[in-house]
């Protein structure tokens, strides 16, 4: 096991490091202009000099994404439960929800800003729309997936509707909820970037616009690195939450295989 995890960390890290080396070598070897493609060292240098600003802008993006994810997940969970409990609602509302999911953010963002100004409100609406769907839909699927024999048992002992929800359907939907949450976690960062890009005075998305307009390509790459780091952080937190909450699963088969071998 120890050997395995060692390898599972070392191999990807070595690959990334190798790629950076090739990149650095190509930049020096072919004398590529830094405004076309900055070398990894150029980017690192830029990140060093601009560290305070990057941290500040990342924090702004993080705050926006957290607000969006909080609201989106909240609405998602509540509406999944409502759709599950009241049969007609889902059929009535799903066309509207599906339509909103198919409007590109690039098109929707400017409209929202036209209607709600340049403050936080249009950005939040945009984020909530993005964060809502994966959570609501996967949780709704999970609520209907509860094992039939457990459902039958609760019916036979005369459990009330809310007992079936609390004791069976909600716990059974948690794995589905978390796969939705993991998708939402990464979506939320890239949507926050789009929202900040379209209009705003702070955040990594805003920083990205400024750097692009100034042909500061090293700055653009610095922003990209921050965005990727934020997305990975969000995904990691969602995955960690999942592991903390869902502890009843029997040990994975791979662990069993490890013991046998």
């Amino acid at each position: 096991m120890a050997n395995k995890s060692y390898r599972s960390v070392l191999l990807p890290v070595a690959t990334l490091f190798g790629l950076a080396l090739v990149w650095q070598a190509s930049c020096s070897l072919f004398a590529i202009d830094p405004w076309m493609l900055p070398s990894p060292l150029d980017i690192a240098e830029r990140m060093g000099t601009d560290a305070a600003r990057l941290a500040e802008q990342s924090a702004a993006t993080l705050t926006l994404a957290l607000k969006g994810i909080g609201l989106g997940v909240g609405f998602g969970v509540v509406s999944a439960i409502l759709f599950h409990l009241i049969p007609g609602v889902r059929t009535a509302l799903s066309p509207v929800i599906i339509i909103t999911q198919n409007i590109p953010l690039i098109a929707l963002g400017p409209l929202l800003m036209l209607w709600f100004g340049f403050g936080i409100l249009p950005k939040l609406i945009l984020l909530v729309l993005v964060c809502y769907f994966p959570v609501a839909w996967s949780m709704l699927a999970g609520l209907g997936q509860a094992e039939p024999h457990l459902r039958e048992y609760l019916a036979m002992i005369g459990a009330k509707r809310w007992e079936v929800l609390r004791r069976l359907e909600l716990p059974a939907s948690l794995p589905y909820f978390f796969s939705g949450l993991k998708i939402t976690a990464t979506y939320s960062i890239s949507s926050a970037i789009v929202a900040e890009w379209l209009g705003g005075s702070e955040g990594i998305g805003h920083y990205l616009v400024l750097k692009k307009n100034g042909y500061d390509t090293a700055g653009v790459f610095s922003a990209i690195i921050c965005i990727v780091a934020l997305s990975l952080l969000f995904y990691g937190i969602a995955a960690l939450l999942e592991r903390l909450v869902i502890r009843w699963r029997p040990p994975r088969s791979e662990e069993k295989g490890g013991k046998a071998a």
Partner: protein
């Protein structure tokens, strides 16, 4: 047993049929039976003789086409929440600890939460499962899970316990073990039990009375009193009277059922 004891469960001419396409398939044909207080009554019949349907009617999950069901002396046709139930699969909730599985079922039956917890832990201790009370059910073997499932049914304060082929999924050794265990525990507690099985030996070993059902549509072919005294020896099957009774039941069930057991 004594005929003056209170009747806990009475079925009065219960019939049920299902529509399959345009045809109606009768499943139960005017079934009448009683279970008195502290009596262990078994239904035995070939597979597909509608025993599970009968349980669903008693549980109030479905309504009979004809006839009435009385539980604890009151009309209970189509009413839920009056029986305790042990299904074929242990049906423990994987996200609840072993103790919580029991105490939550007791809560459904109206036992106050504190009392339910105390009862669950005291009884788990008593049946030698105190050490796993706080664990998730997946750590238990199939036989142990069935013990928990039986305990959960036993502790629910309801007039009648319905056990639906609870040992059918266990291997022969575990099954014999479970029968002896259940016999001992039941003889100490003397709850009113309606038990369903395919196994004639199991029926004769455990019951006070046996109803023999015909293939679908199920009718009551015969009602037999099992004469062996309580507490019953595990070796009761060596008794010549046991063999004689077994042959009578076999003859009634006909060749179909005789094959399997």
């Amino acid at each position: 047993m004594n005929g003056e004891q209170e009747v806990k469960l009475r079925l009065d001419g219960v019939s049920k049929s299902y529509a399959r396409g345009k045809q109606r398939h009768p499943v139960l044909d005017r079934i009448s039976l009683t279970v008195r207080e502290g009596e262990f009554v078994t239904l035995i019949g070939p597979s597909g003789s509608g025993k599970t349907t009968l349980f669903r009617l008693i549980g109030g999950v479905e309504r009979p086409d004809e006839g009435q069901i009385y539980i604890g002396g009151e009309l209970a046709t189509g009413r839920r929440g009056l029986i305790s139930y042990m299904p074929q699969q242990a049906s423990l909730f994987p996200w609840m600890s072993v103790a919580a599985n029991i105490s939550s079922a007791l809560a459904t039956a109206g036992v106050p939460a504190k009392e339910a917890e105390t009862l669950a832990s005291r009884w788990l201790e008593r049946i030698g499962l105190g050490a796993v009370a706080k664990q998730y059910p997946h750590v238990l073997s199939g036989g142990m899970q069935q013990r928990v499932s039986f305990l959960r049914a036993l502790l629910m304060p309801r007039d009648i316990m319905c056990l639906d082929e609870p040992f059918a999924a266990l291997d022969a050794l575990t099954r014999a073990d479970m029968q002896a265990w259940l016999l001992q525990l039941w003889e100490a507690e003397r709850r009113s039990v309606l038990f369903v099985t395919h196994s004639i030996e199991e029926a004769l070993t455990l019951s006070d009375r046996i109803y023999v059902l015909s293939p679908a549509p199920a009718r009551v072919l015969a009602e037999l009193a099992v004469p062996f005294p309580r507490p019953r020896r595990v070796g009761v099957w060596k008794d010549p009277a046991f063999v004689e009774l077994k042959e009578r039941v076999l003859a009634m069930l006909g060749e179909g059922a005789a094959h399997g057991r």
